[in-house]
Symmetry: C2
């Protein structure tokens, strides 16, 4: 890698100061009531996140914001800075970056755009200068990015004042800022908790390979999730992803595999795509997990974060409505997962707890209606777990049907639905049996007449997430994540 | 078909009296305050739907419900009945059915379970008797089903008091009651409007082939959507689906293609599955559209209902965030749809309306941020439509970002988001250009902190649905439905 060679004389990157800066300069923050650009936006976001360190806003016009003095230049800041967020017009970026370097910053993120992604000579020249300065000893995230999100320190992405401050095991790397912010938001309600997230945009300096190398050894990171548009150096990336995937799961969504997609990648983040066949083969060789859209990326990250590190060849599916069982079987078989009929004695025990007629205790277990009490479902789950072939359980709850009985009891749907008890028994069963339970919460009622159901489902999901139960909207998605986990831990390339 | 031969002496089925009964008997309705079974449930659902005809409740114990006298037997009802809903214990069903036949009913739906799906001799014998009675001249839907939903008459499925009374072009056929009720509910907020829906459960009499034949010639039905677990007579089904698909689109989700799935089908609705390869080939030969899950079924039904009957080989994608464009290209290419770069002059016109830098006018058009005013987006859509290669447009709006600016303006997210104007301009563009516009409304914020966003998105969706704009949650799904439309209208087997 060109950058690495150039950097050989520099000290190793101080990622600690980048992700957990004590003194953070934000350049391009406007004083109160003088308009609001990206710099002010990121300042307000970081303030809203209750960032732990000292914030040092900078703007040539000076003034103040939220009671903080705005320095007129980086040079004016007394003492060293650890990290800088640069949000000034592209043409000013190189000088500001160099000033940050001289102030001792370990790194800077440049959220400004107007560089090589424009395809203009001017844009390319500005980006070349950024690389030159980076090579002198400051690591750069960006330009044309949404920056870093680190729940532990409170660094957040460009429009991210409301991201979670709860840390977790998933690191996320992407060029695309939009993808990153969406993933961060989705993670919040889906239950994916992040160690760190880096949206590196054009990737003038820090890119996929450097970040993989860092996260490989980062003790706060157990799962690495990536959205890749293009990469700069295929050989070193392949080497790095292979080494990394031997230590922890790496999940990759590679965009821009089509011809038109590759063209769009070029205008989006100024990098090169690659063919689908090559990528499939590279990722397979590396034992990285390939996914095909952002939802699958988030779901798979959740599964790797919450499931124990092993394969699950046999599963049970407990749910209401026979068609769910049919879907379960079709999906499981497509992913090479067994849904074995339970042992006869267990079937008999389970059948005792189910409404009749209309139920089936075979596996999938059809609980016939959505109102089976959580305590009965607990017994069903406990019994099914006794079958040695069952290594993981999935419970599908059609809770939206509770609305139909809420009126009868003169309660709201959130009051009538025993979601708290359900979450508790699921957690109890998983702990007691040592076999993970995945929850599925489909919702067929999502219109303006059913906002109360949507709220109840959101509350339920939060309850599950708080208990560390993996929860998905659709059964198919749940089974697919298990398949990904199987592929990774069934592969040979991991410790 | 066995039934057909047996029925040869009977008059043709009077579907009019089945779907739009004037006089409807419901057998198994309990008097007030004496407990509530399925019969009472369906009675209350049909009342809630403001069913247009006369309801005649029946229960040997008599009494009254909602001011209606409960007849002690079917025989006691004065005059003829058109249709009956039977919800009594399985062992009483044959006699009740025969009584309905003698009362002149054209048909009956049996929502009771406890028949061949149990696999017991008694269950099978009871179902054999149902067939015998049906063959004497009453058409039977069920047993073990959720019945018929017909928005025009107000007949509704078992737990369906809140389905839409708005009729539309989509007929739905399924064995599974759970699948049917979910599809009916999802259709309500997704914008799928139904002509008729039949959940036929065990299918002792009326089944997929008869219903296909009926819907083929039903003037109220333009699109037929099916969930099939098993079929009874492959030859006649194949013949019928081929003829039907030559007249109108038939969309099929075949469940139970796996070995385990086939086993589950057997216990769910007592019918036979079949191999995936055979089904794929049969459906392809018939030019029926095969889909692979319920969401895809609903989405594809929506597209066929709202898009003009033609193929769309070139599309534009307008949206915010470059990664959306990459996803668009990858997905489109996988489905053999072109996203051609727009003509230079159109690109220049479009670029004038976009924020800079960060936007791209090529196609996909990257609008850079989610706050581009609807009037500008209208100009963008109008310009893109002038390119002859563009036959359909997709607009992706990341409206959830409006929450971040709502506070600044001291408004709620629903107040600040210009969703009404957006819906109006989309409709205007589609009408003016003659090129359909599909809307995509992703939502990355779906947690308990963002219920206001969920509500705003639901309101937006309703606005789009009211304007007849096809709207989806995810871009991938939108493109896939276009691919299905292309497959059908590009196929040779349609008029």
């Amino acid at each position: 890698m060109a950058n690495k060679a150039k950097k050989s004389g520099n000290p190793p990157t101080d990622y600690e100061r980048i992700f957990h800066p004590q003194r953070l300069a934000i350049i391009g923050v406007s004083a109160e009531a003088s308009g609001a650009g990206f710099g002010t936006g990121i300042f307000k976001s970081i303030t809203a996140m209750a960032f732990a360190g000292e914030i040092l806003p900078v703007n040539p016009k000076g003034g103040s914001i939220d009671g903080l003095n705005i320095f007129k230049s980086v040079e004016e800041i007394p003492g060293e800075i650890d990290f800088a967020i640069i949000a000034v017009a592209a043409r000013f970026v190189p000088d500001v970056l160099d000033a940050c370097r001289k102030k001792g910053a370990a790194g800077a993120e440049i959220i400004s755009s107007g560089f090589s992604e424009l395809g203009t000579d001017e844009g390319k020249e500005l980006e070349r200068r950024i690389k030159e300065i980076a090579a002198k000893g400051i690591r750069v995230v960006g330009p044309n990015c949404f920056g870093i999100y680190c729940p532990a320190s409170g660094l957040t992405l460009l429009p991210g004042p409301d991201l979670s401050r709860e840390s977790g095991p998933v690191a996320f790397i992407a060029q695309s800022g939009g993808m990153s912010i969406d993933f961060a938001h989705a993670g919040k309600w889906m239950g994916v908790r992040f160690s760190k997230m880096v949206s590196f945009g054009n990737g003038a300096d820090l890119r996929e390979t450097d970040l993989l190398r860092y996260f490989k050894d980062d003790p706060e990171t157990r799962v690495i999730s990536m959205y890749i548009e293009g990469i700069q150096n295929g050989d070193s990336f392949f080497k790095e992803i292979k080494t990394t995937a031997s230590k922890k799961p790496v999940i990759v969504y590679k965009g821009g595999l089509s011809r038109a997609g590759a063209r769009t990648v070029a205008s989006h983040t100024a990098s090169m795509g690659g063919s689908g066949t090559i990528w499939r083969s590279i990722l397979k060789q590396a034992n990285a997990v390939q996914v095909h859209d952002t939802e699958e990326l988030a779901q798979t990250s959740l599964a790797f974060a919450l499931l124990p590190p092993k394969t699950f060849s046999g599963i049970s599916v407990i749910g209401g409505g026979g068609a769910i069982g049919v879907t379960a079987c079709d999906t499981a078989e497509a992913y090479d997962i067994e849904i074995p009929p339970l042992a006869d004695d267990l079937q008999a025990r389970i059948y005792d707890y189910l409404p009749k007629p209309g139920s089936s205790a075979i596996n999938p277990v059809d609980v016939a209606n959505p109102f089976v009490p959580p305590q009965y479902l607990k017994e069903v789950l406990l019994a099914a777990a006794e079958d040695k072939r069952i290594e993981l359980q999935i419970i599908v709850s059609l809770l939206y049907h509770y609305k139909s009985i809420a009126k009868t009891f003169n309660k709201t749907v959130a009051e009538i639905t025993p979601y708290k008890e359900l979450a508790r028994v699921i957690r109890e069963v998983a702990d007691k049996t040592g076999k993970p339970v995945i929850a599925v919460l489909p919702n067929a009622k999502r219109g303006v007449d059913d906002l109360d159901i949507i709220e109840m489902i959101a509350l339920t999901k939060k309850e599950y997430v708080d208990y560390g139960i993996p929860v998905f909207d659709e059964l198919h998605d749940a089974i697919r994540t298990v398949a990904h986990v199987n592929t990774y831990y069934g592969g040979k390339n991991h410790e």
